[in-house]
Assembly symmetry: C2
């Protein structure tokens, strides 16, 4: 005994979402059918449009439905001399929200991971090398995640960048602002110590 | 700064799913765009078909894209004399998997909940009363959940059934098979005691 064919197909399809198993998929299907058919139809439409229309920005590889993303199109950033390298589109949003950075981005869409078969060509590093070669940038900021894979990716990119005349920097790692020393893990704390700076009064 | 319009719309649409907030919605959108566009398109298609085509079975109110669901159509069940009343389509599947019950079902699609504005008419209790009146059933099994709302709903339905000549039963509540007494909550344990049966050798 199974659900009706259409319902079973809907439940199975939900399982392609990350972190969604059989029970959650069933709950989602019931919820939409019982309480929010309009939301479900809206989601269906948004999904089908997004899957066919969203591509990658020619310059920075971020998701966009145009040839160039909003940031790469912006006249203010056209002549930017810093290039910030991040792993995912979410990182771009997070950095943009600080208002601290006004340069351009390069979105790797992942990190080097030989075990998953993700190599330099999957991260668009050939495209990145072209950007370095263009001579537009004087600084490359490595903002990959402070994980083993993120560090390895940063290192790999630094080696490529080294061949060009750019200054290579890595964002600082240490105790989060507002955090309590007691609850910070040892690895972060040793980073915070080795990265200490002269205190200016 | 936001994501591109189509991507933002997709993320917002994902939030209509139960238990999905801004971060999970973002993760789902990125996952599908980056790693599984085919799965995403399949989900879009399954969703849009399901939202328009799936309705309720005329007899038992379960989800189906036909007039009668598979169980109500089955010739073996046409003349069933027991009617099992459950809260959700998932309950039907769970009971069917035991192979213990060969009667018909009635799916309430929820429980009485005045606080959420869910009254007898939302659970199709008028349709249920017609089923009782038809005289087909000699036994009504109340299999709503053993929660406050489930018990109240069972009680309400028992009162309706009482007006017709049917025997009204409630599924047993007690210590789960394979469970350890030590870890069973007090409420269940007192149910298990008050519902004790003569031990047959």
């Amino acid at each position: 005994m199974k659900f009706s064919p259409l319902l079973q197909e809907l439940i199975d399809s939900f399982k392609c979402l990350p972190g969604i198993g059989a029970k959650s998929a069933q709950r989602m299907a019931f919820h939409l059918l019982e309480r929010n058919r309009r939301g479900g139809s809206k989601l269906a439409h948004a999904l089908s449009t997004a899957m066919t229309d969203i591509g990658h920005c020619r310059d920075c590889r971020n998701f966009t439905e145009q040839e160039l993303c909003e940031i790469c199109q912006s006249p203010k950033r056209k002549l930017a001399t810093s290039l910030c390298i991040v792993e995912s589109p979410g990182d771009v949003i997070a950095i943009e929200q600080t208002g601290e950075f006004t340069g351009k981005y390069f979105v790797l869409m992942g990190h080097l991971s030989p075990i998953d078969g993700i190599g330099p060509e999957d991260l668009g590093l050939d495209r990145l090398a072209q950007q370095f070669a263009s001579g537009q940038f004087t600084e490359v900021i490595l903002a990959t995640n402070p994980t083993v894979e993120g560090e390895a990716t940063a290192h790999y990119i630094a080696e490529i960048a080294q061949e060009h005349e750019v200054s290579i920097t890595r964002i600082a790692h240490g105790v989060p602002v507002g955090g309590e020393l007691e609850y910070v893990d040892g690895n972060t704390l040793s980073h915070a110590f080795s990265g200490r700076k002269r205190y200016s009064l």
